[in-house]
């Protein structure tokens, strides 16, 4: 085609325009991060400046004195343990729903039960959920925040779809070689699900790290607070403690953004393909 001579002209303008749009989306975060390094006096005085006149880590020091490292530890514990459980149980469940579909007649009924989880928003069940958590003695216990949310229909669905695409002859071959059903899954089939595992791992970690409602309702002891609850506590009846909440918010978003940057090549591809629900 005769386009070549115009190439730079054709790509420059659209690329610049797209970058401006992208920058606009990123801007509120940039503004938050820059603000978190301004001294309190500068935060609340005109004229507003883009960059802090002096980078100050004072708000971060204050937030850390408030115990933020322990809240971060609690959130990490919640997110890592919750994600590990989610990965194990949803890969097992999705696998079984796919592989035994010809041998067990009621697989679709069981799958249908899990699909209820997507039809009914969890928020409408939070009140009785907290009752169940208390009855099980899990009130003010980190497990009371982990166990109710580790089963995700999204995860089960993802693994089910994945294993539906793998020929049953793989399983048959393993059986003929004398492998038990459990061995077949853990040794042969699970390693084949790596792309689903990475995608679900990142999403699950993010959901747990960002969890708000259950930790707020279930954890009453300040020592057990997660980072989101600690942030919420800077919003009081008399207004918001802005200088602390800015630094706290930046601290809460940093791990997720770093994790996403590391894993994004695997994720965005997987996301576009399967349309994971939030």
């Amino acid at each position: 085609m005769s386009r070549k001579p115009y190439r730079t002209g054709k790509t420059l303008l659209p690329t610049v325009l797209t970058f401006v749009v992208a920058l606009a989306f990123l801007f509120p975060i940039i503004w938050l991060v820059l603000s978190s390094f301004k001294e309190t006096g500068e935060l609340f005085s005109y004229p507003l400046k883009m960059f802090p006149s002096k980078f100050s880590a004072g708000h971060y020091q204050k937030v850390i004195r408030d115990g933020f490292f322990s809240y971060i530890y609690n959130s990490f514990y919640l997110a890592v343990v919750g994600t590990a459980i989610t990965l194990v149980i949803s890969s097992m469940c999705g696998y079984a729903l796919a592989i035994y579909r010809h041998e067990v007649s009621y697989t679709n009924i069981i799958f249908g039960i899990f699909l209820l989880g997507t039809l009914i928003p969890g928020e409408t069940l939070t009140v009785p959920q907290v009752t169940v958590i208390s009855e099980l003695g899990l009130y003010n216990n980190i497990w009371g925040v982990i166990l109710p949310v580790v089963t995700t229909t999204t995860g089960i669905f993802m693994f089910r779809q994945h294993y539906l695409s793998i020929p049953l002859s793989f399983v048959e071959a393993a059986r003929i070689d004398g492998s038990t059903e459990v061995q077949t899954f853990f040794r042969i089939m699970l390693p084949l699900g790596t792309s689903s595992i990475v995608t679900l791992a990142l999403f699950s970690f993010m959901w747990r790290w960002n969890d708000y409602i259950l930790p707020l309702l279930v954890l009453s002891d300040q020592k057990k607070y997660t980072i989101q609850i600690a942030i919420k506590n800077y919003i009081g009846f008399n207004g918001v403690d802005w200088s602390s909440i800015l630094a706290a918010s930046v601290m809460s978003m940093t791990p997720i953004i770093i994790l996403f940057m590391i894993l994004q090549r695997h994720i965005v591809g997987g996301l576009a393909a399967s349309g994971v629900k939030g």
């Binding site: 989306f25 938050l32 097992m92 067990v104 928020e123 009785p128 109710p148 800015l246 965005v268």
Partner: protein, 292 residues
């Protein structure tokens, strides 16, 4: 072969499914049944639990605050929905355009807000919309305008919440739209180009119709997410001024946890559940499941 293995495989099936099924039953199905049961009682989350028949439901259907919260949630959803669908669609078209370079960086930048917790999304946007030292009001002043009371005027407060919600979800829905756009065959676009179709014509005559199933999915997901907006609001107005941004989920939580009316909250939850499901069902019917 199958009958020989039969029993062993059924046992393996249950072994694999059991953990999910047990947890799902305990923390989803039991609360669902509990919610139905409790909706006929005056349970206060502590000691009192008497059967009171349909009293909660009668009270609910004449509770003006319930109707107000529900109406507010609907108005918020209807106002926000077009932006929730159209903005990511336009952004996705932009970042899949052949003439745009460095697509990866741009997509990552737009996706980043989707990684934040709803609470932090609220805080981030609220920081920009502060009445006194917020960036937006500062810019308004610089341009000679009168600063706006974003938190005190309920229309402005609702706008800020909607803006925050849209900002944070655009990246996520953009990715879904990119998937849809990538599934459209390149041959159709080539044929259109040969026929002399302009970019605008191609967008309206090819991209939009071909994306109908994706648009349906995004509409459905955003409707449900808007209807249950909660944590975001806690980062901005906490439901104020007054109750003016208290949406239905917060209304349920207030009844259940702050006013200890678990029975009444259960009744509201069930009614809201049915309303949400009906809305999803109607959308599904209207769009024919997203099929063209």
């Amino acid at each position: 072969m199958r009958t020989q293995y039969g029993k062993r495989h059924v046992r393996a099936f249950w072994f694999f499914v059991a953990p999910c099924l047990i947890l799902f039953t305990t923390f989803f199905l039991v609360p669902l049944l509990l919610s139905i049961g409790l909706s006929f009682t005056n349970y206060d989350g502590w000691k009192t639990m008497d059967f009171i028949g349909l009293k909660n439901y009668r009270e609910l259907f004449s509770d003006i605050k319930f109707y107000n919260a529900l109406g507010r949630t609907f108005r918020y959803t209807l106002f926000s929905l077009p932006f929730k669908v159209i903005v990511p669609l336009l952004v996705a078209v932009l970042v899949t355009a052949k003439s745009v370079k460095a697509k990866g960086i741009v997509r990552t930048m737009i996706y980043t807000p989707s990684l934040l917790s709803a609470l932090v999304v609220g805080i981030t946007i609220n920081w920009m919309f502060g009445a006194e030292y917020g960036l937006i009001n500062y810019l308004i002043k610089l341009m000679g305008g009168v600063p706006l009371q974003w938190a005190l005027n309920y229309k402005l407060a609702t706008f800020v919440i909607s803006f925050a919600s849209n900002w944070a979800s655009t990246g996520f829905y953009m990715v879904i739209f990119i998937g849809g756009i990538n599934n459209i065959s390149g041959e159709i676009y080539e044929a259109a180009a040969i026929d002399g179709s302009s970019n605008v014509q191609t967008f309206f005559r090819i991209t939009i119709p071909m994306l109908a199933p994706t648009t349906f999915l995004v509409t459905l997901l955003s409707t449900v997410n808007l209807l249950k907006e909660y944590a975001l609001v806690q980062g901005i107005t906490q439901g104020g001024p007054g109750l003016n941004t208290t949406f239905i989920i917060q209304f349920i939580f207030d009844k259940g946890f702050n006013q200890m009316q678990h029975g009444y909250a259960s009744a509201i939850s069930l009614v809201v559940m049915i309303i949400f499901a009906s809305i999803a069902f109607v959308q599904f019917k209207i769009s024919n499941g997203g099929d063209r």
